[in-house]
Subunit: 343 residues, 4 copies
């Protein structure tokens, strides 16, 4: 792969935008050529405009870059990674795709559109076939590919291997980190010594997105999986890492050990993508794992750790919500697109 | 009621012991006459021996009291409230009951014994009929009455009104406060910015105790309720207040509004016991309630707040684990015993 | 005192506004007759407009009150308690005072104006003589009385008794609670597992306000105390309660025990004001006190707890920042004004 | 350097012991050949005995190692890194030194002994001359070298460049992370939503150790620096990273800018030791830095970040307490010893 792919980041100053920068720093294929953000930041140097809040240093390569507006005419890139708010993404991402950009989006705006792939590479890479459908239908030169919501993406790779047992229904209670709401999303007075048993639209996303992700692409459309999901979403005082208590009902009634083996045997091969973790699912047998602080960085934040597989079938799943659940997810999608020759 | 009832506290220096002192301070019926604790503390003044960690001041009345050993011969009281560790409670509580004490216990040791009442006054006051069975069978002058585990007690008063709809099965994911483990139970390094998806024996208790509590007392024994419960228990960085995401499956398939009305109409009348809250269940209609920090003190810590009643049926319940879930529960039991003339 | 004094709250929906409501609920002298807030809230019922975040229940008496704009023509009250942002307070409080209202303000806008009393009743009640100066000079029917910044007010009552030893200079490092910044003031991502070593303008306030508070009123103006203060202010992940590490240099070089006795003997008599704590300074001799969680509620949040008095002289002081440091301070000022016949 | 140096860790299972393992994993000079811990752990595999709580994975190289007792006869190593509790270290470290081991100790037991070097390489590498004195006096084949207490070590490299201005006195208020007390050192109920204004013996260490570190070695002994230090130490709810508010009084009365330049120019050259950070002091000019969460990992945890240099002279310093302040400090000392040919 001789050439570097030029990457832009839309919404580069926010929490997920910063994770995109972190994910693309020293990337073997992609090079950040453009940082785009709201009018308030456009024209400023990234080092001045962004309130960097990651534990690692802001990469020197972006500190001096001038932020451009979120406008396809101002953005110099082959692929744009979108960390835009959903309301804004609806219009803007379409403009970019129309202008020929590959848009790898973390926004929810297009996820459930019939002709837009909603993809987790380890789960449903074949759904990328929708790109042709999308371009045909919309007449765009570029296209949009999306990844699911952060709480969905941590659950779905654990459901995929359970499909073989005849997965019927899922109940999931989440304990989600504050970073999922963005920098100013959760006030300290709201969450210190507290739990908030509600996250707007989160349950709806968890109940619908997995059906598309686990559905079958028949060459022209995705037939949603026939599973019933019931979610109860909570915000907890944790910085990063969504933890989920999952019940999965299956017609085959597997034992916990059979489920454990299915998790261990779930080894999708993406062909060594740079952001692909060695193990998408890490199974921990200790009684008290996974824990977000101890396990969220596994696989550089791209692995999902599962544990406590019990009769029920019940188990816990945990993953890094702004890496596996956001920026890393989009980057992995783009890597797969590149490997497939579509980028 | 002319006379004051003399109350002793077993395990008076620990987290629950301190809540007992708080609950009995200025109590209209009970007066603390005796504080008992381990050999390490016995002989010391309470003000010196106890590491008081409640936000209210240590009552002046106990500061100068000398701690006695946990021994029926050394304890001067009519009723003893037990905050003993379960392993120790097994032997010691029996000794107290044999010697004629009424033992109101928060320990798990005797909860599931067939002839020992496990009671939440608003749920199954009639189970106190087991006291006679117990005294007959064991030949004790006194007797033992127990209250359930803290996570059980927050769920069961919400299940009781659902029995009328034909409650079949329950799934519950808990988010439990650190105070549930006692003062030194959870290290800060273990729980800061973290969740621990495991609490030893907690799921077993939540899956068995409610069956006894919701069972029927036929005059000689309690026939357990025929419900299947599946629990997933988690420790979260919250000081006080257990939050629970509950799914309840009922044969009658009630609507969320029917369930809401059932909660609103659940008004057991205990006859104005001093520790009885005005409302055992408080229904909040806001989307983001209950929250432990905001709701745990309702009803002086004795109310359980429910909310987010949705299709499923799913809802959230939250209550104060060391008041409603421990000390307050035992005191309420003792108040009921007094009202019934059994103390 | 036959009549009830009608009290309005300016900025009633915010964190300090809520503490004002809590402080005035069941007050023996004051009755809340008016809640004023920004245009966004005006016209709405308080129960709808305010996002109540205190652990106690919103008083029923205010739930249904309609919020009025912050406008002297719309406010029905004898005294208004101001929890306004400082920029806004500059204009608005003057309007209220001009229209005849007594303004008891927690805002910083007028604190350092020469003719405006900056008062902590236990420290410098006599400075209220400035009211006449203020009314003469400005031709107002009403007047403004202010209380200091929250971090100042927790330190100054400890410095007052040290004046007798020839207080020369003070160094203070603060660890301030998040509630000091208002509900949305500190994002959880900013402060979880973190410290922010900076609070805008806080050090300037701590270095100037105490000089006025400890100064002498000569009948026409306040001559500032000749003390040099150097402050280093930090935000910490604590909900309520500012903790301060203080070094005080005095010409008389008192021993720690002499300082301790001076704190114990500091018993200003305000004549039993309703909000006055039994002890303005509580001296704790344990090595590990004061602690914000355990001590902030002492004296219903109006006591300041001191401890660790050591050679240096060094000591710790801690108090509740939104009660003693804000709403309670303004209410105590108003109570004193009433007692003096000025309200 | 053809040969690998064999390294043992004493107290390998604890918080600092785990940081030693992390620091020595993939070390270019040292190889872990022995893990020693208390009798309770001895004989077990490290992977079973240690409760690993770091965010990175336990290195595969140690998982299967069998833990040996803390006994020079059982330990196979050239150098031992000691994370022992101080009471135990007093006897045990002497035994190891007597038996010919180089002991790089993080314990406080020997720090203030006249013939034992207390060293921060960037500050007083020349004090290692005491090794000869120590061996002569005690007749040991090996020797002990110590590093200071974690709160001392974060302050001292900032004081070193101030010596040139005639440093007279220092006042320091610390805000220390819970990891400084070890895994079970601080209960969550003690520190959540709280501050503990006391850490046993910490102030004494901060007031004495810097005098030795900043003193002059005259060939036979260290003449302590003539500085007066007054410390006020606090525990805060932060996982890692000690933050310190420092006042430094100097006879030359430098301006903040002069102090800033002195910090920037403090570039001790240790000759590229593996654990040496690029910058021992990182100067941040933003008003709100340093912050523990954002800055503790700088220089892989070995840099100290300073900021807020103001008149006074006041400034903030922050560093990672279990890396720069413990395990990393001992390893850096050992690297320096190796470079000097003493190991």
């Amino acid at each position: 792969m001789p050439e570097t792919i030029r990457a832009g980041i839309l919404g580069a100053t926010g929490a997920v935008g910063q994770r995109f920068i972190q994910a693309l720093e020293n990337h073997p294929w992609f090079e950040i050529t453009c940082l785009a953000a709201s009018e308030k930041s456009a024209g400023k140097k990234y080092g001045k405009a962004a309130n960097w809040r990651l534990e690692s240093k802001m990469p020197d390569s972006v500190t001096g870059m001038e932020i451009v507006p979120v406008d396809p005419k101002k953005v110099d890139a082959d692929v744009v990674f979108s960390a835009l708010p959903s309301s804004f993404a609806k219009t803007v991402e379409a403009e970019f795709a129309k202008e020929g950009f590959v848009v790898a989006s973390n926004a929810s705006a297009f996820r459930m559109e019939k002709d837009v792939p909603l993809v987790v590479p380890e789960v449903n890479a074949d759904h990328l076939g929708l790109i042709d459908v999308q371009q045909d239908k919309r007449g765009w030169d570029g296209y949009i590919v999306t990844n699911p919501n952060c709480s969905t993406i941590i659950m779905v790779p654990t459901l995929k291997p359970l499909m073989a047992f005849g997965l019927e229904s899922v109940q999931v209670a989440t304990m989600q980190a504050v970073s999922g709401a963005g920098y100013d999303g959760v006030a300290s007075m709201a969450i210190m010594d507290n739990i908030i048993p509600y996250i707007g639209s989160e349950e709806e996303k968890m109940e619908s997105e997995p059906l598309k992700l686990l559905g079958e692409f028949d060459g022209s459309e995705v037939v949603p999986a026939d599973i019933k999901i019931s979610a109860s979403c909570n915000r907890v005082p944790v910085m990063d890492g969504h933890t989920e208590a999952i019940w999965a009902k299956m017609t085959d009634n597997p034992t916990p050990e059979q489920v454990r083996q299915a998790f261990l045997n779930f080894k999708p091969d993406l062909g060594d993508l740079p952001t692909e973790p060695e193990q998408v699912l890490i199974v921990r047998d200790e009684p008290d794992r996974p824990q977000p602080r101890l396990d969220r960085s596994m696989g550089k934040g791209m692995s999902i750790t599962v544990g406590r597989i019990r009769e029920g079938i019940r188990y816990m799943a945990m993953g890094h919500n702004t890496i596996r659940g956001a920026a890393g997810a989009s980057v992995l999608n783009a890597e797969l697109l590149h490997k497939m020759g579509k980028l």
